[in-house]
Amino acid sequence: MGLVYEPVDLEREAFEDLRGFIEKLLSKPAPGSAGRTGAWRLYRPAVDAGRCIKCGICWLYCPDDVISWAPKGLPIIDYSYCKGCGICSSVCPVKAIDMVLEGE
């Protein structure tokens, strides 16, 4: 092979690929950027409003940050993203959160 080469114009393809690639590789934090993870749930945490002492411990422990709570208020669980891990139920000091099988 001699010292010759065919210069190939690959710029356009490379540019388009790079745009697509970066869009797929990078992600910014946003609700549901990895889909509605609530669909993974087998057991649903159900709050018994009568028993709840509104302490906010479930809000503090939720690993997915799907419980909203204001001081002296009831916790509100976002079932679109709650995966049903049950941590809130197990840390509740008054056993006010039951894990209920989905579909029941």
């Binding site: 393809e13 540019f15 990078l26 992600s27």
Partner: protein, 394 residues
């Protein structure tokens, strides 16, 4: 251009200095150690203005340069054998993130038993990840491929990591004259890295490679695939440009030795190619029309070049220093696939575990192969043999 006598390892360190890298992170392992020791020296003396990050493992070394590369820095790391395998997971993160990291792999057999000598199993075992992989056959070429690695990897048409393989001891610890270009010429040929369209830095908030739909995972591999295809063109272009500029005779993806009128072709890669060429020379004197095709790059696989060369001879002999257990030699497998079974191929597996191979070994292998073909004993179906002359009957 001045000529200096350098070992493979110091030649690679010299190329890294001339490439003016920003961040180096590595962990020592024989036979790579001298590269990183030399670079640490350069940083200490201020000859290279780079940050040298010490780490507790190779997994971390590659993770450090991953982060640095994603923030826009030009980076370098180096390893060998067991420690390349220790990086295995990060190799894929780097490839799928298409970061133009350059890494020297000083090839060394994988245990057990412990061995510090060269075969190509370590580098070839990781060939599917998505790194461009060069194989040097001389100290000067180890220098050249390292410099070219930055130009190719950082090219906007490519954006892929590059591995520069050089045989442990045969190249890493052997002194040879190297024609060193002037630093100013190299700076001109290899300007600072162009910024990526994204930059990991304090204040920017996004994640790289976060959990996503399965389709995204597949698409990222497809982008690596396309970049690999484009890389072939860019590698040919860059190596020819480099050869012109710095007066080198080898370039492109495959080096040819006496292939013009050859009837039999020997295909291999790495430092021992020189011995194979010497053997081909001796065989020519005895009237055997033998040529050698030495792969300068294993990934992307130079299928086009090999197809052309292999289909113009009677038979091809692939000599492999790495094997895919239960199948065949690694390069042989690739060559058979690239030639779509249209070529008569024989595969010899040799030199594993660092077993020394000299011109006489290659001569006897190649002679045996030609005679086997001419006697009609070599049928058109591919097969492999192990070359172990110290074992009776081999």
């Amino acid at each position: 251009m001045k000529v200096k006598v350098l070992m493979g390892n110091t030649a690679v360190a010299e190329a890294v200095r001339m490439a003016d890298v920003d961040v180096v992170s590595a962990y020592p392992i024989t036979p790579q150690t001298i590269i990183v020791e030399r670079i640490a020296d350069m940083v200490e003396r201020g000859e290279l203005k780079a940050r040298y990050v010490r780490v507790e493992s190779e997994h971390s070394a590659l993770a450090v340069v991953y982060g640095a590369s994603a923030s826009g820095a030009r980076v370098f790391t180096a390893t060998s054998s067991h420690d390349l395998l220790y990086m295995y997971e990060m190799l894929w993160w780097v490839a799928n993130s298409r970061l133009p990291i350059v890494m020297a792999v000083v090839t060394r057999a994988i245990g057990p038993p412990w061995s510090i000598h060269s075969d190509h199993q370590d580098a070839l075992t990781v060939r599917d990840a998505g790194w461009i992989m060069g194989f040097a056959s001389s100290v000067e070429e180890a220098f050249d491929i390292t410099l070219q690695a930055y130009r190719v990897g950082e090219d906007g048409r490519v954006l892929l990591p590059v591995m520069v393989a050089l045989d442990g001891f045969t190249l890493s610890h052997t002194s040879e004259p190297v024609r060193l270009p002037e630093e100013s010429e190299v700076r001109e040929w290899l300007p600072p890295r162009e910024p990526l369209p994204f930059k990991l830095e304090p204040g920017s908030y996004f994640s790289v490679g976060n959990l996503g739909p399965d389709e995204v995972a597949m698409e990222l591999r497809w982008y690596v695939w396309r970049a690999m295809e484009r890389a072939k063109h860019v590698m040919r272009e860059v190596s020819v440009d480099y050869a012109r500029r710095f007066d080198r005779s080898t370039h492109s993806l495959v080096e040819e030795f006496k292939t013009g009128d050859a009837r039999y072709l020997v295909v291999l890669a790495g430092a021992w190619s020189g011995d194979a060429m010497e053997a081909a020379d001796m065989l020519r004197d005895e009237g055997y029309p033998v040529g050698v095709a030495r792969l300068r790059y294993i990934r992307p696989f130079p299928a086009e070049e090999l197809r052309e060369l292999a289909t113009s001879v009677r038979a091809v002999l692939v000599i492999d220093r790495a094997v895919s257990m239960g199948h065949m030699g690694v390069i042989a497998g690739d060559l058979v696939a690239a030639t779509r079974g249209k070529v008569v191929v024989k595969n010899i597996i040799a030199g594993l575990g660092g077993v020394d191979m000299g011109p006489e070994d290659f001569k006897s292998i190649v002679k045996g192969f030609v005679e086997e073909y001419e006697s009609g004993a070599l049928d058109s179906w591919f097969y492999a043999e192990w070359y172990m002359p110290w074992v009776r009957g081999r």
